[in-house]
């Protein structure tokens, strides 16, 4: 692939050379035509002068030829011939009879040199009653044509000189154009080179291309801004990836530490079978939690990379909610937390993936129970807004700041800073819920006000016979 620099250079030189050649050619033809026309005019004038002399001498045509030397004094290199209307030669300069060519234009002179022929035609009155050649009517008009031939060596020389001058000018113009093009191309290409080098040197860690905004030509500004935007996006992506990798490592370290500590403790001394079994059971619980967390991490990864498929079905909310409540009922019972009754829920259906709705409801209820104050109640309410079903899950909990609420959808963010007594809460639940909801066309919003945390799930309804749930 030819570089832009070479293309511009070659194009500029060719364009200038071609323009010069065309201009020189036009000038050449114009000058040549002008010089030839001038030469022809001179020839015509010579011929007229000869005829004028013949008229002045009247019937002394015979003698007129003797004095033609005077007539050609101005053009000593000329030959001439006077012919009557029958084409008979009446008078001629020495050798002039050799001028047999009747048309004006280029010819070869009797001495072999290139020349041109011009002519003039006029009437000459024979006086004295005696014609030299016997056919003339005394006092009558005799139509005569005078052809004059002159060597055009000077004309050719001039034309050659002009041609050389124009050719040289063209060549010089082409060379100068080459140099000018070099400078021009370098000037034009410099900012492009600078930007190309900056782009080539940029890394995903950079937030923008390392070029000064003022030094970017306006034609390239859009491209640089776009490249900056891409780089900023890549930077953000990289930062997020690193953060996520760091968070994953962090989240895995803690259960691994628990596992290692449990094993270290078990192996610290000889124990009986019951103690070993207890250590193994604790280790198994840690492994189960870790597997659960890894599965959620994988799901989050699939969701973020757009590889999690979503089915589109009618889902019965009641069944999904009952299943989710059953999953958290043991912990709720243990901590004296009251869960809502589901008997009052109608056969309301929403559109979406049933597995995803199950995960969302389970996560929201799990969060609600985990963060609820012991002995309090988790509430679930339904509302119908046009074609939407709005489900609210609320629990008493310490109020979070608006910043904390805004960050709840960020993976690994935990409102209370810790992972909870069981280690289940790695800060993935709401992040997963938000992404699952988005995938299914639902929406989740969270609020934390006056000691109550509320998660609001808005879904598209497929029926409208809702019954409010206490």
């Amino acid at each position: 692939m030819i570089s832009i620099r070479r293309r511009l250079l070659l194009g500029t030189v060719l364009a200038v050379a071609l323009s010069s050649a065309v201009a020189s050619g036009a000038a050449w033809f114009s000058v040549r035509a002008h010089l030839i026309a001038a030469a022809d005019t001179d020839l015509h004038a010579d011929a007229e002068r000869l005829l004028s002399q013949l008229r002045q001498r009247g019937d002394e045509l015979h003698w007129a030829g003797m004095g033609m030397g005077n007539a050609t004094a101005a053009s000593p290199e000329g030959w001439w011939v006077v012919v009557d209307e029958r084409g008979s030669v009446r008078l001629s300069s020495p050798g002039g009879a050799a001028i047999a060519q009747t048309a004006d234009g280029p010819t070869t002179m009797p001495d072999g040199r290139p020349g041109r022929i011009g002519h003039a035609t006029g009437t000459v009155t024979a006086v004295g009653g005696r014609g030299r050649w016997g056919s003339e009517a005394p006092g009558g008009n005799n139509t005569l044509t005078c052809r004059v031939a002159k060597a055009d060596t000077a004309l050719q020389g001039t034309l050659s000189a002009v041609a050389w001058a124009l050719g040289t000018a063209t060549a010089v113009a082409a060379i100068l154009a080459g140099f000018a093009a070099l400078v021009l191309v370098r000037t034009v290409i410099r900012p492009v080179d600078r930007i190309a080098q900056a782009i080539a040197a940029s890394r995903p860690e950079d937030e923008r291309i390392a070029v000064e905004a003022d030094s970017v030509p306006c034609e390239l500004r859009g491209m640089v801004e776009r490249a900056d935007a891409f780089l900023a996006a890549a930077h953000d992506l990289l930062q997020r990836e690193r953060r996520t990798a760091g968070n994953i490592a962090h989240e895995l370290r803690t259960p691994l530490a628990g596992l290692a500590a449990t094993i270290d403790h078990a192996l610290a001394r000889e124990r009986d079978g019951a103690e070993y079994r207890q250590a193994l059971a604790r280790s198994r619980a840690v492994v189960t939690d870790t597997i659960h967390m890894v599965e959620r991490l994988l799901l989050l990864t699939r969701l973020e990379s757009g590889r999690e498929p979503a089915r589109r079905e009618n889902i019965k909310i009641r069944a999904a909610l009952m299943a989710a409540l059953a999953g958290v009922s043991a912990e709720a019972r243990q901590r004296g937390i009251v869960l809502p009754e589901v008997s009052g829920i109608s056969a309301q259906q929403v559109a979406g993936d049933p597995d995803h709705l199950g995960l969302v409801l389970r996560n929201l209820l799990d969060n609600a129970v985990s963060h609820a104050v012991d002995g309090s109640a988790v509430t679930v309410t339904f509302e119908q807004h046009a074609a939407d079903v709005v489900l609210r899950i609320a629990n008493p909990a310490p109020t979070l700041s608006p910043d904390q609420v805004a960050q709840l959808a960020e993976p690994f963010f935990r409102g209370d800073g810790g992972r909870g007594a069981t280690g289940r809460h790695a800060g993935l639940g709401l992040a997963l819920c938000r992404r699952l909801a988005s995938l299914n066309g639902w929406d989740i919003a969270c609020t934390s006000e006056a000691g109550v945390f509320t998660a609001t799930l808005r879904m598209t309804s497929t029926t409208s016979d809702l019954v409010p749930l206490a």
């Binding site: 962090h250 628990g258 270290d264 610290a268 840690v286 800073g417």
Partner: protein, 224 residues
């Protein structure tokens, strides 16, 4: 050695506390930052094992409050954040050591011993008091070539007295050093364990190293 473990991840907290107790330490365990700070205010610890990311009150905040209160309890930060800036931040916040999870418990114990040794001003593990040689690293006491067979509590009492040679240690301080928060204070138990320790020392030929200053406490000294 009286230790405070502040760790919100239950499996780690339970295993770590159990291990340290079996190694003869008195361990108080806190499940979040607030409980940890409450314990820290209530007692002086030979060392505190502190998680950094805690619910309710962060490890950094506990450390900041502790140092602001003029407390010099050695703090070992145990956290999953292992990046260099995190370690630096932890140490600059006032931690005396920084361990990244997961950690081998024997290594953690060795670091705790080193922390306690440094905080007591000792430069080496072996402390000699008359004919008695106490190796705090190997947790071994010997008189001459005879190694004493001590229980965890006896060792704990001896270790504390050795770190305060020549100083009268009140009975309450011995209790606080050797028993955790859940133990009901009972001075008689200290008396019993100290009597056993003195008997074993005497049998090994190191009689009279530990003396009772009535109404004040106990002192370990080579020349009472």
């Amino acid at each position: 050695m009286r230790l405070l473990v502040i760790e919100d991840y239950a499996p780690l907290r339970v295993a770590l506390s159990a291990y340290l107790r079996e190694e003869g330490c008195a361990v108080d365990a806190a499940i979040d930052g607030e409980e940890g700070w409450w314990h820290a205010q209530d007692a002086v610890y030979d060392a505190i094992i502190l998680d950094r990311q805690l619910p309710r009150l962060s490890g950094d905040e506990i450390l900041r409050r502790l140092r602001a209160a003029g407390r010099r309890d050695p703090v070992l930060m145990l956290t999953a954040r292992g990046e260099v800036p995190e370690r630096i931040a932890g140490l600059e916040a006032g931690a005396d050591d920084y361990l990244v999870k997961p950690v081998a418990l024997p290594e953690l114990l060795a670091r705790l011993k080193a922390l306690v040794r440094r905080s007591s001003g000792a430069v080496q593990n072996t402390i000699t008091v008359g004919p008695l040689q106490v190796d705090t690293g190997r947790r071994q006491a010997a008189v001459g070539a005879r190694v004493l067979d001590l229980t965890a509590k006896e060792w704990c009492l001896l270790e504390h007295l050795v770190h305060h040679v020549g100083t009268v240690v009140p009975r309450d301080a011995l209790w606080e050093h050797c028993y955790d928060f859940n133990e009901e204070p009972n001075p008689n138990r200290i008396e019993v364990h100290l009597a056993n320790l003195r008997r074993k020392l005497s049998a090994a030929g190191a009689d009279g190293l530990i003396t009772n200053r009535r109404g004040l406490g106990y002192v370990l000294d080579a020349a009472p």
